[in-house]
């Protein structure tokens, strides 16, 4: 096996926000790195600044200090090169399914006919053929989140950033979409960063899990998940699954006691 290449590294990033009682330190000297074709989950107590990290990587926020290095080059942010997917599906209600999927390509100025052909191909692959002209309002939560996933992947982002994308869905739909995601990541060979509060999901999907401590967020420990399963469902049956799950639970519990 060739040595793992670092694709993205975040080094010594700090960020604080002005609050009522002075500045709130959300990120303090945070560093971690992501390898090529990695699938990294970031878990931590709620409100520890997971979303802030994403906003900094996506270029929606500027860090107070620290550097981001991408394939050996120092950059400001990955704006325009990441795909952002959140818990809210953020579909544009006035656009049809097709229109929503095309949003990113339109923004990028891709030829309309070419973009549409690509969109139809993706919709078909994700089982949404026939829903092109439906408005988001008429779709189920799972379907809407699938449209959001297509909208993210069709941009061919360098790194999809997934911010608790499935946490608003029921368990069955979540299991199904985790499978869809895992397949898609393998098909398109993507590096993925997933923020989740669901330990179960983190273990079932990831190659590595980064555990953050409470505010201000620091990397507490990084676990390599050595489960070689074809789907998130079979991963949950793996012999090591329970051990990873227990370890991560323990680590998070200690912190909740500390922050409480």
């Amino acid at each position: 096996m060739p040595p793992k290449q670092v694709q993205l590294s975040v080094a010594n990033v700090s960020k604080s926000f002005a609050g009522k009682n002075g500045d709130v330190n959300v990120l303090d000297d945070l560093s971690f790195s992501i390898n090529e074709s990695d699938f990294v989950s970031i878990i931590g107590p709620s409100g520890c600044g997971k979303t802030t990290i994403f906003n900094i990587i996506a270029g929606l926020l500027e860090p107070d200090s620290g550097t981001i290095t991408y394939r050996g080059q120092e950059i400001d942010s990955l704006r325009g090169r990441v795909g952002y997917m959140m818990q809210k599906d953020l579909l544009f209600p006035w656009r049809t399914v097709l229109g929503n999927v095309l949003l990113g390509l339109e923004t990028r100025g891709v030829d309309a006919r070419e973009a549409e052909a690509k969109a139809h191909e993706y919709l078909k692959q994700f089982g949404l053929a026939g829903f092109e002209n439906a408005y988001p309002k008429t779709l189920s939560g799972g379907m809407r989140q699938r449209v959001a996933l297509i909208r993210t992947l069709i941009m061919d982002p360098d790194i999809p950033l997934l911010d608790e994308p499935f946490s608003a869905l029921d368990y069955q739909t979540r299991l199904y979409l985790e499978g869809v995601l895992k397949d898609a990541v393998q098909t398109y060979k993507k590096t993925v960063i997933l923020v989740t509060h669901d330990i179960d999901e983190a273990v079932a999907l990831s190659k590595r899990v980064v555990v953050l401590s409470g505010r201000p967020a620091r990397v507490k420990v990084v676990h390599e998940i050595d489960i070689d399963a074809t789907s998130p469902v079979t991963a949950r049956n793996d012999a090591n699954f329970a051990t990873y799950f227990k370890t991560l639970c323990a680590e998070l519990d200690i912190q909740t006691e500390k922050t409480a």
Binding site: G59, L60, L90, F92, W94, E106, T107, R108, K137, T138
Partner: protein
Amino acid sequence: MTMTIQTAAPVRAKRKLKLARKRATFDTTLGRAFLQIAAVAIFFALWEAGVHAGYVSAFLMGSPSGIFATFYKLILSGELLADSWITLFEAILGFVIGTIFGSLFGLALWYSVFVAKLVEPFIVAINSVPKIALAPIVVLWFGTGLISKVALAVSLTALVALIAAYQAAKDADVDLQSLMISMGADKHQVFWKAVVPSTLPAIIATFRINIGFGLVGAVVGEFISSQRGLGHMIFLASSLYDLNSVWVGLFTLMILGFVLYYVIDIIERTSLPWKQATTSHQIQV
């Protein structure tokens, strides 16, 4: 311990069912129209009867029979249609110009928070002036013709549209905008693809209010000084104590407003198909 609960439920349920059945025969488009027309007919019949019995002064209140006779006369002479057309034209022109410019200006304020904050007190100040009070100046500036009425209607409608558009642009979902920025969109793309479409429902909602204000501007302008239009007709007739003609003018204005309201309703429903799209089930409360 046992408790006996006395209940009138079976009887009540039966009565409810009977009522519901009765209601169902009238709760159709035709049934409702029948009830509505009947209400209007009863109202006019009582009025007419009051005039004949001497309880209502025909001199101060007019009478339905007189109103219908005047209406018929003015339709035949063509005066009513000519006046209606002029007032309608002034109102619609004022509405369109005021709404378009107001909305565009309000939306443009989204671009710069600095400029928006700078002009906000001025907008509030201008908005707090009762625009009707401008009517005499508007006539001085724009004369007694079409332009002064349109200008008055514009002054009434533009600020309503401006404030609604600005507010809606400010309230546009930040997450949708963030999503577009993360995709690499520039400010113009965020504006046109995320902000403008999300403000459309609010802007279209102002149409309903503004079409009424358009009529107000036109009629008040005609009151102040004019040779034509429904406002002029009402003003002239009331100074001659011709109450029947006044009512004809008022009812015609009511009809115009009514028709315009439904035209706006159709525009609202057809221009935002995504708002109309529903899932298969509709709830019943």
